[in-house]
Amino acid sequence: MNIDIILQNMLNPPVLFFFLGMLAIFLKSDLTIPQPLPKLFSLYLLIAIGLHGGHELSQSGVSTYIFKALLIAVVMSMLVPVYSFFILRMKIDVYNAIAIAATFGSISAVTFITGITYLDTIGVAHGGFMVASMALMESPAIVIGLVFAALFAKSADAEDENTSIKEILREAFLNPSVFLLIGALAIGILTGDKGWHSMEPLFGTLFKGMLAFFLLDMGLVAARKIHELKKVGMFLIGFALVMPMVNASVAVAVAYFFGIEKGDAFLLALLSASASYIAVPAAMRLSVPEANPGIYLPLSLAVTFPFNISLGIPLYYYMITTFWG
């Protein structure tokens, strides 16, 4: 693995805008991107990913190969939070262990699309159906977190359990990110070529520019969270750096074993390595209020996310090339 492969990833405008955002905070510039502009960007990105993936699925159909890849995705998203939880329990309390495990078990859509941008830059093929994998990987970790909470933790909410479980399952499968992604995916499939043709100018052509805009904001947010890391402690920071590599390695091994192709395997690894910072934190705040968002949010936003989009992507790709050649 040489420096070139890293630079190829870093010298993309979106990634550079992320670091520009971080720099703004480090230099104490007053740059802000006030709400609801970040919301606009994330709504845009979800719709764009969904429509694009749906369009590609409508062209490719669903083969056994695709089915296999989707299955691996789901399995990984159930495996990761389970083993993460038991590793975390060695050092920290049950509430935070649940929340962090769920956070790292789920995925980050922006990490995923930065990875796709990377594949496009270096010219490696990948399947449009991987968007469906991503959609499938969002929710299982939330459910597993919920099960763990029921098994291992006595939550303050224990009384009105019924309402809570409904509310939390809704949070798992109908939270705005998952809902919009799957909805746009379905519209992409339903309207096929003709639909995509009419949506492409906004949701296709402008994609990288909007990603750059959003990553600028992510940089601001991530950098603001960095100073909260002091309170988090070395164990968890280490976890947030090492765990993505572990998860990616597991995913690479499984994908190789089942004959997944290079580009798709890379994306599976990256998805497994990525951590959620929107859907899962919101769900955990509701279901495990005892867990401290001042811990799991900074870990996901200020450690794992920057690591993945800067060094993680070339690293996982390097892993891939050593297997697939």
């Binding site: 802000t32 991107i33 006030p34 709400q35 970040p38 994330s42 303050a156 909410d157 509310e167 904001d217 992510m218 947010v221 603001r224 909260e228 910072y277 929107i278 934190p281 919101a282 705040r285 509701l286 209020p289 968002p293 001042g294 949010l297 936003l301």
Partner: protein, 92 residues
């Protein structure tokens, strides 16, 4: 009458309104995306995730209603964090 102002994390708003409903609070006003500093550190509204944004809800209600609701509110704040400010006020 009493004015009750509650500042909590946005994600908990539905649960707070359940408490209000249980105690038959007949009216309230919500201000979104406020920011703040308190026991839980900074809460900034310009976040990517909504988790760290605050919301302010206030209601003017009869003293007795507040008395009835007090314990539930306290328990709410203990579980979910947040602050509750009480003052005297009347509706014109």
């Amino acid at each position: 009458m009493k004015k009750v102002e509650v500042i909590i994390e946005s994600v908990y708003i539905k649960r707070l309104l359940k408490v209000f409903k249980k105690h038959k609070i007949g009216g309230y006003t919500v201000i979104k995306d406020v920011e703040g500093y308190g026991g839980h550190g900074f809460q900034t509204a310009d976040d990517v995730s909504d988790v760290l944004s605050n919301i302010l809800v206030f209601s003017v209600c009869k003293k007795e209603l507040l008395e009835n609701m007090k314990d539930d509110l306290k328990k709410f704040l203990e579980t979910y964090g947040g602050k509750c400010i009480v003052s005297d006020a009347t509706l014109l």
